[in-house]
């Protein structure tokens, strides 16, 4: 049966929080890379020429189609075969970031496509260059529209950081493992505690994004969609 030694759980917390720190940094850095790349890719695919567009399309297909573990291995081990060496932490960030970019590009592109073309035409008609219209008229709307999808992506990246251990990055899951290896009779409570930590993190970020979304919502936007 499972025994509930609460002091084990309490003592485990500092160790778990150390792992959480890594989990959090990994998530944040990867999402940042994913977002920046994602926006360029969404714009590139919508407005770029055939070559750019196809290249991005292929990138998306590849990185959405390969398991994350394989991506990590290719970046960490595969690249070192040709002399490019990354620290495991960096390799994870790159791997997560590149993959997140493929998904975020889709989110941004969907948002971009949902903006009626008439607005771009109006922007061009008043003398804005293509870049200006993208920057001042389209992107502000894309970012607002993407918040729900992005929020979802955050959750996914956060949970995927638990694979980081495969190339040696100690994040929350691995820290948890150290503890239940020492206290195997407490596996379930420890795992529940870890689940709780992930859960709290996800809920708070989602709530934060929700607040952001409300603040920047284009007033009555849902009403105009059918126009």
């Amino acid at each position: 049966m499972v025994s509930l030694e609460f002091d084990v759980l309490i003592n485990a917390l500092p160790q778990l929080l150390r792992g959480l720190e890594n989990t959090f940094i990994l998530t944040a850095a990867s999402l940042l890379i994913g977002s920046i790349m994602g926006i360029f890719m969404a714009v590139g695919r919508t407005f770029g020429n055939k070559i750019v567009s196809t290249a991005i399309y292929l990138y998306e297909k590849i990185f959405r189609g390969i398991p994350l573990l394989v991506i990590f291995f290719l970046i960490y081990f595969g690249l070192s075969q040709i002399g490019i060496n990354f620290e495991p932490f960096v390799a994870v960030v790159i791997g997560l970031g590149l993959r997140s970019a493929a998904y975020q590009a889709q989110i941004f592109r969907a948002a971009l496509n949902s903006i009626p073309e008439g607005q771009s035409i109006a922007a061009r008609s008043m003398g804005m260059s293509k870049v200006q219209s993208i920057r001042h008229i389209l992107l502000p709307q894309v970012l607002r529209l993407s918040i729900p999808g992005w929020s979802n992506e955050f959750t996914i990246v956060l949970k995927d950081t638990s694979i980081a251990f495969s190339i040696g990055v100690i994040e929350l899951m691995r820290q948890g493992r150290y503890i239940y290896v020492l206290h195997p009779e407490m596996i379930l409570p420890i795992l529940l505690l870890i689940a709780l930590i992930y859960f709290v993190l996800v809920i708070s970020i989602n709530k934060g994004l929700s607040v952001l979304e409300k603040k920047y919502r284009m007033k009555g936007f849902d009403l105009t969609v059918d126009r």
Binding site: I115, P116, G118, Q119, I121, A122, A123, R124, S125, M126, G127, M128, S129, Q132, H136, I137, P140, Q141, R144, M218, K219, G220, F221, L223, T224, R227
Partner: protein
């Protein structure tokens, strides 16, 4: 020198030619209205003028400068051509004031304060001073279109092109927009594509009847309504007029 000169414009979409050699001129302060059956290239004409859809053949001159010349900076030219759209095309994420001021700020490089002051002035001009903080979704169709007009006016254009500005409006809202347009007549050079015969008759300096990609006939409202030269013109005007209950 004419303000606007359109010479022999040809435009084709795929296999069909939509504009088959359209020519006319406009002088400062003139209001010209283009009427005709749908699909005859009226909207295309407007979009050819501001080069949104560049014509295959023909030239457009704005204040003597040929804007169909590929070496010209079309973005700079477009600053001088206002455009009011059938679907308003307001920027959803900006309130009315910002919709009007964004062009001033980002394209004309005005200081934000100055731009907003100017924008407010134009909003008041179209009767929407109190609605400056409202977002497009919070405005009626007529109000949105008036913001669209204010947005075009704010850029201080040489000419404003109106592409069926009231066609997407509920009947009771059409009036407020036409009123604004009427108030501009004489001060602002306007080229208007519309089905509003009342407006054409009362405000236009000249009416151009287009069909099949050509201007069939053009003349003063009086001339066009009472003694048109072409049979087709009379047919069309008669039909439309009776539809709208006017004679």
């Amino acid at each position: 020198m004419h303000m606007l000169e359109v010479k022999n414009l040809h435009k084709r979409y795929g296999a069909s030619e939509v504009l088959k050699g359209v020519s006319f001129t406009m002088d400062k302060g003139e209001t010209k209205v283009v009427i005709g059956p749908s699909g005859t290239g009226k909207s295309t004409l407007l979009r050819c003028i501001n080069q949104l859809h560049p014509p295959e053949k023909g030239q457009v001159f704005l204040e003597g400068v040929e804007i169909t010349d590929p070496s010209v900076d079309i973005n700079k030219i477009r600053q001088k051509i206002g455009f009011v759209f059938q679907d308003f095309n307001l920027f959803t994420h900006l309130n009315a004031l910002r919709n009007v001021s964004v062009g001033l700020e980002k394209v004309l490089k005005m200081e934000k304060e100055e731009a907003e002051k100017r924008a407010m002035h134009e909003l008041k001009h179209v009767g929407l001073g109190k609605f400056a903080e409202r977002y497009p979704a919070e405005l009626s169709g007529g109000q949105q279109q008036r913001v669209g007009i204010a947005r075009a006016l704010a850029m201080d254009p040489i000419i404003i092109l109106f592409d069926e500005p009231t066609s997407a409006l509920d009947p009771e809202l059409i009036g407020e927009v036409l009123e604004v347009m009427q108030s501009l007549a004489g001060e602002v050079t306007m080229l208007v594509v519309t089905h509003e015969m009342g407006f054409a008759r009362n405000v236009a300096d000249e009416i151009m009847f287009m069909e099949g990609g050509c201007i069939i006939e053009s003349g003063s409202p009086k001339q066009m309504f009472t003694s048109p030269k072409h049979k087709r013109t009379g047919e069309f005007l008669g039909k439309i007029a009776s539809l709208y209950g006017e004679e």
